[in-house]
Structure formats: structure tokens, C-alpha cells
Symmetry: none
Subunit: 203 residues, 4 copies
DNA sequence: TATGAATGAGTATTCATTCAT
DNA sequence: TATGAATGAATACTCATTCAT
């Protein structure tokens, strides 16, 4: 019944995850049938249950697989950077970039994962927090270095930045005719948070 | 078959909307039975279908009812204000405040409504845009008055601000032990956007 | 609860019967809603239950009303006739004629009344038998007078003749483009039964 | 979704058809629950939907299965016969015989299938016509051979004969205490149509 | 491992009927 | 009498999950 760790790396496990991601993104989790996923993955319905406990587990696994990837990728990209401002900019750019490159996954994460209070309440606390904490770590480092204002609560700010970036990404993914590039969006978000909206006082 | 306009104001219509909001917030839309809503509203199952076309219509109606209320309330509160900075601050504070006073509704809007690509795609374009445009109007007014930076695209900024505020609100609603007050959160969001994260340069 | 005899003659009772006949003929008994009948009759749903015990009673009443009319009409038309051959011809012609003039009623009787074993079993025995017996009476009279063959069982023959005429009528009612007139059909049925199919032996 | 041709021959398909025939004959189509059929067939409710599109499809399938059988059987039995009179006699006898041997099926065809104008209108035109045309073919052959009267329209006569035989069969099936044998009925119907009702003129 | 036929619990919706007005 | 809003029992159909092969 329990899915052994070795299965996770197997080719079929990945094929099913990818199929599920595609199907859930297109039709929504509740409107997707396990049979749809099986068909997309070119396996029999029953095969899915050799790799996943149930339909919910499929969704949770997509979440865990991708949030891990996201976290690792971001951590790698900011590893050598010392300037907290540059780190934050890289986070913002990278998150948008990852969303762009994994639109189906992003849609599943952003929309479908929120579908049920159940998932939010159960999973908000684990791997997702690790990802969010990348942002608060940057902030606290910046505050320690005297670059960022100390009167800001990093627990609040991490949420605010994540919310801003993620909403932007969601909008961008769903928008059919792209009215602006993601690079432009990334630059503006950075500017807004780092410089603020106010017209800079001329020295 | 169509639900007449006069029914919308009726006592029973409101009773059902409120019951549905509560039930959907608690158990999620897809995990709620129409019978649950009926029971909560103290009406028979069939009665719901005298006021709503089907279960989906119930969700959509919650959305339309509340987004209208939100829009009107915010517009009223910023009507007399002239300073765009103050206007933006009021929007942020008010949105958080409305969420706090209508937590069930907020949860349904933020979580359940996003559950389905269908709803997002169909409804993102209408009343929701009106609400978002309150923000872009403030921005453009601020840019015209020379208070806000002109290099920022209001179409992007409105999304960023909304995302930030809404994510914050969602987090706050779902958080069981409140680690900070909403007033504090509101103040920090305002600060971040208006002043930026950087330590102010001492003149 | 019981529907008083005086109601039967009332204008509203007749209006409802007519509406039900029309609606049942168009959509079938099981696919018709009591509300449809009410609408067609321009009365409230509840009003129907002042005149009829329930939906079944509506169907049964249509049957009883019309079979009475049919029986009386046929009896009247053959009253003065003495020749059994002529009587039989009149019955055939008249039945087809009555169907033609009351197509909705005929459809309800022929199709809808057969819909349920329940109705058939309960009602085949009563007023319908009176109608069928018109035919067997004619036959027996003919046999007594030496006009019809005595080796035929009138219990069988009455069914055969009724079945033939009624199937014909059903076909004719349902046929959209009439390929032959009802007069022609009536003449041929008479010929068939009275003369037989064989080529008459030339004396 | 579509039921593949190979399923039609399968054991389970036949088991369900038989169960449905029995249940529909007993309680009527509209008063039968799909669950009743499943129970009678000793399968799960859902299994029915692996073999049939929906409840209507079950009724239609009973019709198609049996009308095919009837048509083939009758064609086989009259194949070698040359005398049209004998052919007609065989048709009449055989139809009654088939009804007697398949009373449940016959009841479903005769009563339940007629219940809905929908079925009649959709299906009257196809396989049923093939069956009816057996009769008109016999008639036309008889007319060509100079055995049957040429003044009779075979389109009318086929209906008349079918109606007569079928009504007879229906009556016989529903009759609890059989007042006459089917052989007797068959003989009388043949006599009536072939010789006519009139007392034969003595040469 | 893999299959996919079979299962049967679960539920939105309909509509005949009632009853307070 | 007449109304029509409210009721709630009834049921076709779906689909996640199982298990014999």
C-alpha cells in the first residue's frame, strides 16, 4: 500500500505525475477523472494505484515534487550572491521564470491546490514554508546588513512578496494575449518593493 | 427557471447565500453537499433550486454579491480623499478589514472560487476587474499628480498590490493563532509599497 | 379528497382534461409535468388537485371521458341499422373517424394508456370492454341472422377487428405525410374482413 | 462510451437484457429502477452502464435484439413455401407462437415500447418496418400470382393484419385464464382474412 | 508489475403533492 | 375555491477504487 521510495524515481511514476499535471491544469482537479490521467499517461487505471495511494495523493505528490524543485533551483541560483537586494531580485525573477517554464505545474499549484481547505490546511505548513522562508532569510540578512529597513516584520513581508509575485505569475499564465513580458513584470516588481512607489527624492 | 431579480432581495435568498458561504468555507465547495447548505439554511433541498439554477450558480452568486459590496464600500471610503498615497493606504487597510469582517466570504472567494479554472476564466473578466481597477485608478491619479513614479505600468502594479494584500489576508484568515494584528499587517504593506524596502537615505 | 360528481361537469374540470390530453399526447404521460398541464390549462398547479386525485387520475379520467363518448357515439350511429354487414362497416368507419377528429385523445388512449401494465390490467376490464362488445354484439347478431360464419368465435373476432382498426388509426395519426385517406383505409378494412383477401370466385 | 459490437454477444450483455426484459414486463419501464434490473441480473448498478448507454438504451436494445430474432425466424419459416395463402397463414401462426414463447419480451415490445411517442417516432421507421414488410411482400406476391385481390393496398393491409395479430397476442398474453388456445386464435385470424366473414356462397 | 472489468457508494436535481394564505 | 411557494422522497448515473487474471 505504501509507495516505496524507489518507485518515486521510476519512469512510470514520472510519466503519471506529468500526465496528472497536464490533466489537472486543463480540467481542474475535481473535474478530472483518474481514468483521464491513466489515458494521458498511457497506463491502465489500476496502475496508478501502484504508484499513488489515491487521487488526493496524486495532487499532493505534484505539489511536493515541484515545490522541491523550485526550492532547490532558487537556492542554487542565489547561493553565491552576497547583496540581499540582488538576492531578492533573483528570487522574484526566478519564481516568475519557473512559472513560465512550468505553466501546467504552476496552474495546478496556484489554482488547484487552493481548491480545498483540506489541502491548504494540511500542506501549507511543510515544504511550502521552506520555500517562503527563502524570502524571509533574504530579508533578515538584508536587515542584519543594514540594507533593509528594520521596522518591517519578515513574517509579513515574505507573504506580501510571495503573494505579489504569485498573483502576477497566475495572471500572466492565464492571460491569453500577453500584454507585457515577464521580464518587464519582474523588473517592475523588484522596483516597487525595493525602491517603493514614491517618486525618488532628488538628492 | 431563470431566477427573477426580485427573488435576489428576498429573505430566503439571503438566508441561502449565507448558509452556502458558511458551508463552503468550512468544507470546501466540492466537499459540500447541496443538502448541507439546505440544512444550514433551514430550508428543504428543493427550495434552493427555486432561487439558484444549480450548485455552481450558488458559488457564482456568492462571488457577485460580495464583490459588489466590496467595490461599493471601498469606493465610498476613498471618495473624499485627494492624496493618492492616502487613497492607496485606505484601499489596503479596507480590503484587509473587509476580509476580517467577512472571513467565510473571503475564504470562499479566495480559495473555493479559484478551485476551478472554469470560474476563473469566466468571472475574472467582469466584476472582479472593476474592483482591481480601483487600484490602477489610484496609481494613475498618483502618477498624474507626480506623486508616484511614472515608470511603473499600472496594469502590472494593480495586480502586484492586489496579490500582496490578498495573500496576506488569506494567510491571516487561515492562521489559527494570530501572530500579528491586521492593523500591523496593513501598515507594513503600505510602508513597503510606498517607501520601499531600502533603508531611507539620510538626507 | 374524493372528487364530487358535480365537479366533473364544471368548466374548469373540462379545461384541465383538455389541457392534459394535449400535453400528454405531445410529450407522453411520464414526460409531462403536472405543472405543464396546469400552465396549459391556465390554472395553478394546486388547482388540479381540487379536481383530480393525482396525476394517474388525470390519465384515467381522460380514458373514461373519451371511451364513454366513443361508445355513445357509435351506439347512436348504428342504432337504426339492421344489416350486420352495414353495422360493422359503420363501426369501422366511425372508429377511424373519431380518431381523426380527436387525434390528441386517440394518441393518449392508444399510446399512453398502454404505457403501464398497471393501467392496462386495471382498466382493460371495464368501460373498454363495453366498447369492444359493440363489435361482438354485431358479430353475434350477424351469426344469428345467418349473415356471418358461425365457426368464428366472437371473443376472438372482436379483438382482431379492434386491433386491425386501431393499429390502422394509430399509424394514420402518427404518419406525417398521409399516403392514403382514412376513407380509403376504412373501405379496405371493411372489404378485407367482410369479403376476405381471396379473389372472389366468379359465379 | 459507445458500446462496442463485441460486447453485444457477451454473456453479461445477454444476462442484463434478459433481466431488463423481465423487470420491465413486470413493473413497466418507467416504474422499474435501474437498480432493479441490476439486481435481477446479479450485477452491480454500474455494470449496466458498461454495456448500455442509459436506461432508454436498455429498452431500445431489447427491441432491436428481439425484432431481429423475430424477423429472421419468420423469414426462415416461410422461405420454402410457394403458396401466398400458406405463407400468410404461417406468418400469423408464427407471430402468435413467438409471442407465446417470449411473453416478457412481447409485453415489453407491445406495451412498454409504445409508451413513449419518442420511441415510436424514432424506431417505427427502422427494423420494425422490415418486419412489417414481410407481410406486404406476401401480399404483393399473392396479388401478382392472382391469388389475392388486386384492389387492396398492401401498405394498408400489412398494418391491418399486423394490428389484428398483435392485438390478439397482447390480449392472449395478458389474459390470465386462457379462454381459447393460441392455435384456435391463429386459425380464426387466418380464416377471417383469407375467407372473409361472410358465409361462403354455396356454388 | 500491469491490466481493465466490475463494483457500489455517493449526490445533484426533479417534480408530484401539500397547505398557509 | 384558487393559489404557488415550499417540501422532500426518489433515482439515474458517475467514478474512485479493487482484485482476479
Amino acid at each position: 500500500m505504501a509507495v516505496s521510495a524507489e518507485k518515486i524515481g521510476s519512469e512510470k511514476y514520472q510519466k503519471i505525475i506529468q500526465a496528472a499535471t497536464k490533466v489537472f491544469a486543463q480540467k481542474g482537479f475535481y473535474n478530472s477523472k483518474v481514468a483521464d490521467v491513466a489515458k494521458e499517461a498511457n497506463v491502465a487505471d489500476g496502475t496508478i494505484y501502484l504508484y499513488f495511494k489515491n487521487k488526493d495523493d496524486l495532487l499532493i505528490s505534484i505539489f511536493e515534487e515541484s515545490i522541491d524543485t523550485f526550492t532547490l533551483e532558487v537556492q542554487k541560483q542565489i547561493a553565491g550572491v552576497t547583496d540581499p537586494v540582488e538576492k531578492l531580485a533573483r528570487f522574484i525573477t526566478l519564481h516568475l521564470d519557473l512559472v513560465r517554464s512550468n505553466q501546467d505545474t504552476a496552474q495546478v499549484l496556484q489554482i488547484e491546490l487552493r481548491q480545498s481547505t483540506k489541502f491548504i490546511k494540511e500542506y501549507a505548513g511543510t515544504k511550502f514554508k521552506d520555500y517562503l522562508n527563502i524570502v524571509s532569510d533574504i530579508l533578515e540578512e538584508g536587515q542584519a546588513k543594514g540594507v533593509f529597513r528594520k521596522d518591517l516584520n519578515s513574517a509579513i513581508v515574505k507573504r506580501v512578496i510571495f503573494g505579489a509575485v504569485d498573483e502576477m505569475a497566475l495572471e500572466w499564465v492565464l492571460m491569453k494575449k500577453k500584454k507585457y513580458s515577464m521580464e518587464e513584470a519582474a523588473a517592475q516588481i523588484c522596483a516597487m518593493f525595493i525602491e517603493g512607489l514614491r517618486v525618488p527624492k532628488v538628492a
